[in-house]
């Protein structure tokens, strides 16, 4: 291990740290490798909230209540486009705040963010009773083009149709694509000046003067990043902090990291605004201050509590359409923790515990989206504490660390958005919503005619004309429709990401990453379970079509029973695997923007309700309009052999193709986990261990009784902090739409008899 060099100007800041390559170049991972403080004990060292934290938290809770009573939005800007410095400093109660910084000048006031699309911004304001300043309207329609305007200038008629008839839904063509994890610790470790210096060097080294498209784009982007870094300094200065140099104390480290995050949420209303992975990093700073006697455990906890409190306050104003898809104001401030390093050391540290403790100190909350990178080798004390928190609050999701670490080739990755892994230093994902696989099944049967809209949407092909569906005939027709979906989908995304880079470039996040990045081209699948069971029904169940007067298949009758996805039965599960690979292969034949590498996901968030609403009756007996099962979950009621059989079906979907995540939302009643708390914890630990060992990728765990949810639906005031995990994110139950609440209540809850 390298010693810190005496002549290094930053030595003061780095006093007490183990040296390494991280001193010579921007390399947070190496810093963590050299300085990691593992913790193998239990939660008994943790401290409760300070008085200041409790006072602040009560204020925030009261504001949230006011916000809910005001119909969802407390206050919103309508005449100031948000930038790093568009607003003066804002506070909850300045004297009590250890970590400062708000998106605007007032708590929970929402900023005006028109760059993704002015119409979206205007509709969002209008939905909550505000009106856009006419001047803003003029600027962003006449003078300054937005991302949304760019995309619609180039969309083809097929793309518009696919969007309109909802075979492809949720495309980020009118809002920020998000899913960028900034390497936030860079600010605390190096200070902004050093980061600017590195970016200037990168800029000098892009191209040799031959101005190709790629060189022009990257030089412009790095120039934007340098401006963003300078803007961050100004933003921090308005709060009285100089972040040009590294953080000297734990408090500064948390604050510097938070400023980096604040810069992101001040300027982008992305679909997901991840925090990344900061626990082992901050822990080094906290431990240094504890060792120096500068702080005690209570003060350490206070820093983490107040940092998390700020993450809970991030707000964007969004349209009602958007809320139908992603209900409850999610921002996916995803915070990834734990995991095991490439060298086999686990990364559990005391700050991982402190983050979980915030749920106890300040009550359960959906944000940040706490994600545990799970490996069998994590220490027992941590596994059990996490299980306990899951049982108490249902706020944790679990993801398979060894699967992701091996697939992405690094242990310094985080979860962007809900469940997708992303190398923090050098990876970025182009987010791409999802295609409706269940609807594609119906297009195959109906010759490309939309079953609800009754319009020719997919390629005009021969529909299935026989009374009973022949599997081979169906597959030929399905193949053709799926090729079309893949084509339209990928190319719509090519247009979207081109325009997003051009009109809504995320300089404030990307300035905290390497200049040369690896891009992932994310796509997604919805309705996988219903498509799978439909194909299985056709193959094994002898399915008869019932048509309406227009000849459109509106109902189906299976003569025989057939295997269903969710029972660990290869006959059905292999169909699911085949569908994922088939769509992936078809998409992979196309050009992908910016040399990105294709990936897909089986993940729906709450959009399973909307997708289901827009999809006709499917051959597996799911009625028109009924919600899809969420993510990669089996269809409701399909499971016959209990929870583990169901989990193992999901675990078979190959991560190799679905590298953006395969989400399973698991609901269980406390009594099903065991008769006492100790065995309940033990059951959860064994269950997660077993799932991961079988290559399961992601698990949302919800522990509560259906009756609790019913009561919460009837009396929301009794359950202000009841949170549920919904396919990749966490949400206050009270903030879901009635339909989504019904959907959550009707989901499979594994119950012991």
């Amino acid at each position: 291990m390298k010693q810190l060099q005496a002549n290094d100007t930053t030595t003061d800041y780095w006093e007490g740290f183990n040296g390494g390559d991280w001193q010579d170049s921007i390399d947070v991972r190496d810093f963590i490798q050299q300085n990691l403080v593992q913790y193998d004990g239990d939660e008994s060292f943790l401290a409760g909230p300070t008085e200041a934290t409790t006072t602040l938290n009560n204020k925030v809770m009261a504001l949230k209540q006011q916000e809910r009573e005001a119909g969802g939005v407390l206050d919103a800007d309508n005449d100031v486009p948000a930038t790093l410095t568009s607003h003066g400093p804002g506070y909850i109660e300045k004297d009590l705040e250890k970590i400062v910084g708000l998106q605007t000048d007032k708590p929970l006031k929402r900023a005006f963010m028109p760059y993704g699309g002015i119409r979206m911004a205007e509709d969002a304001l209008e939905a909550y009773g505000f009106k856009t300043d006419p001047k803003m309207h003029q600027i962003f329609t006449e003078w300054r083009k937005t991302h949304n305007a760019g995309v619609f200038d180039v969309y083809t008629p097929d793309m518009r149709k696919a969007r309109h008839y909802k075979i492809i839904t949720g495309l980020p063509d009118a809002y920020g694509r998000g899913r960028i994890i900034p390497d936030l610790p860079r600010i605390a470790l190096y200070g902004i000046d050093r980061l600017i210096q590195a970016k200037v060097t990168d800029h000098d080294n892009v191209g040799d003067g031959e101005m190709t498209d790629d060189v022009i784009r990257l030089r412009e982007q790095i120039a934007e990043q340098v401006k963003a870094l300078k803007g961050m300094k100004k933003m921090a200065a308005s709060y009285g902090f100089d972040i040009s140099k590294p953080a000297k104390t734990a408090q500064e480290a948390v604050q510097w990291v938070y400023f980096g995050y604040l810069a992101a949420v001040k300027t982008q209303n992305g679909a997901a605004m991840s925090v990344g992975r900061i626990d082992s990093f901050l822990d080094v700073f906290i431990q240094r201050d504890l060792d120096r006697g500068l702080i005690d455990e209570k003060q350490a906890q206070e820093l983490i509590d107040q940092f998390v409190m700020k993450l809970r306050m991030v707000r964007f104003i969004r349209t009602t359409d958007y809320n139908d898809l992603f209900s409850g104001d999610p921002i996916w401030a995803t915070l990834s923790m734990a995991g095991v390093g490439m060298d086999g050391r686990h990364h559990v540290n005391k700050t991982s515990f402190r983050v979980l403790k915030t749920l106890d100190n300040m009550g359960a909350a959906p944000e940040p989206n706490i994600t545990l990178l799970w490996d069998k080798r994590l220490p027992d004390g941590f596994k059990r504490y996490a299980s306990k928190v899951s049982i108490d609050s249902s706020t944790i999701q679990y993801e398979n660390d060894s699967l992701m670490r091996n697939e992405w080739g690094t242990d310094y990755y985080g979860i962007a958005c809900c469940v997708s892994a992303q190398p923090i230093a050098g990876g970025v994902q182009f987010f791409g919503a999802r295609a409706n696989m269940a609807k594609t099944v119906l297009y195959a049967i109906n010759g490309g005619v939309d079953e609800l809209g009754k319009a020719q949407v997919g390629p005009a092909a021969e529909p299935i004309k026989s009374e009973y569906i022949d599997y081979d005939d169906f597959m030929t027709k399905f193949d053709r429709q799926l090729s079309w979906v893949a084509d339209v989908y990928v190319n719509a995304l090519n247009a979207i990401h081109y325009m997003h880079d051009k009109y809504d470039y995320e300089a404030e996040q990307l300035c905290l990453k390497d200049s040369r990045l690896d891009y992932t081209f994310a796509t997604g699948i919805s309705g996988l379970s219903h498509a799978t069971d439909s194909l299985s029904a056709i193959k094994y169940g002898h399915v008869k079509i019932i048509r309406d007067e227009d000849g459109i298949a509106v109902d189906f009758k299976a003569d025989n029973d057939y295997p269903r996805y969710g029972n660990n039965d290869d006959r059905a599960d292999n169909i699911a695997k085949m569908l994922v690979k088939k769509l992936f292969d078809k998409m992979n034949t196309h050009h992908l923007y910016h040399g990105a590498k294709l990936s897909t996901s089986v993940l729906t968030i709450t959009s399973n309700v909307v997708y289901g609403k827009n999809t006709g009756t499917t051959p597996n007996g799911r009625q028109a309009g009924e919600p899809f099962s969420p993510g990669a979950n089996p269809a409701y009621g399909a499971e016959q052999n209990g929870a583990l059989a169901s989990l193992l079906s999901t675990a078979k979907i190959p991560y190799k193709y679905a590298r953006d995540g395969i989400s399973n939302t698991f609901g269980v009643t406390p009594r099903t986990l065991g008769n006492d708390i100790s065995s309940q914890e033990d059951t959860l630990v064994n269950m997660v261990d077993g799932y991961m060992e079988n290559k399961g990728m992601h698990l949302n765990i919800n522990v509560f009784n259906r009756d609790t949810l019913k009561d919460a639906q009837a009396h929301p005031e009794k359950y202000p902090t009841l949170t549920v995990r919904v396919s990749g994110y966490c949400v206050y139950f009270a903030d879901l739409t009635k339909e989504q609440q019904d959907d959550v209540i009707s989901r499979t809850y594994f119950e012991a008899m």
Binding site: D380, R384, D561, P563, N568, D569, D570, R571, Q640, N641, G642, A643, L644, A645, L648, R671, T672, L673, G674, N675, S678, S679, Q680, E681, D682, T683, V685, N686, M687, D689, G690, Y691, E693, N694, F750, E751, A752, M753
Partner: protein, 274 residues
Amino acid sequence: MKIFEQEQSSVAVAENTTPIGYVHSIETFGSVDGPGIRYVLFLQGCRMRCQFCHNPDTWNQGVGDELTADQVLADAERYKAFWGKQGGITTSGGEALLQIDFLIDLFKKAHAKGIKTCLDTCGQPFTRKQPWFGKFEELMRYTDVSLVDIKQINPREHKRLTGWSNENIFDMLSYMLENNKHVWIRHVLVPQRTDFDTELIQIGNYIKTIAPIVDKVEVLPYHTMGVSKYKELGIDYPLDGIEPPTQARVKNAEKLLHTTDYTNYKNYPNYPKA
């Protein structure tokens, strides 16, 4: 439901001598049916007619899916990663002991593979008569722990509640005590039927007499989740109108049965710290 149809083609046709199990259903995620996470095999057939039975669909004998021990274990082993150090397979029912030949084959083969076995029984078929008793002794050699219900202490009341006397059940527990076969004792708490202090005290006293083999005592509150099955089967529900016991009554029963005195289950391999 058809259970693992996909395997039947790949497994050789069982020889005539291989016992066949009649299986009602499988629960892959049993966490209240013995130590740890368990693969629970609900076997078909029971002679008791307990008024509070929540599985009346398992009463009939000789029906259900026909499976060999090899087939069951091949399926169960797919869930091995979930079992940790304590989990394994549990046979329940119905009354598992009615298929004792199958159980012997299953548990013997499970042990050969290092799989932990748990027998959930009400003891009704127990007898010291041969050849059954010899078989039972063999089965016990391959059984790690048994879950035994004490439904009623009083033989006459027991008969009224279940249709059968309980004398042979206590005899089975005596055998287990003599041979150091460990058990979890369970009592289903049904208001107006099995929730009387005098009887709970008697049960508590009885358990003390077999304390060396009792690793855990559980009070299982009666629930109404089985009601719909009675409707489906067209059987009158014997406990119509009886509600689950209150939390206070459950606590009372736990006190009278001294549940906290029986903690040996915590000493099982790798049992977690409380």
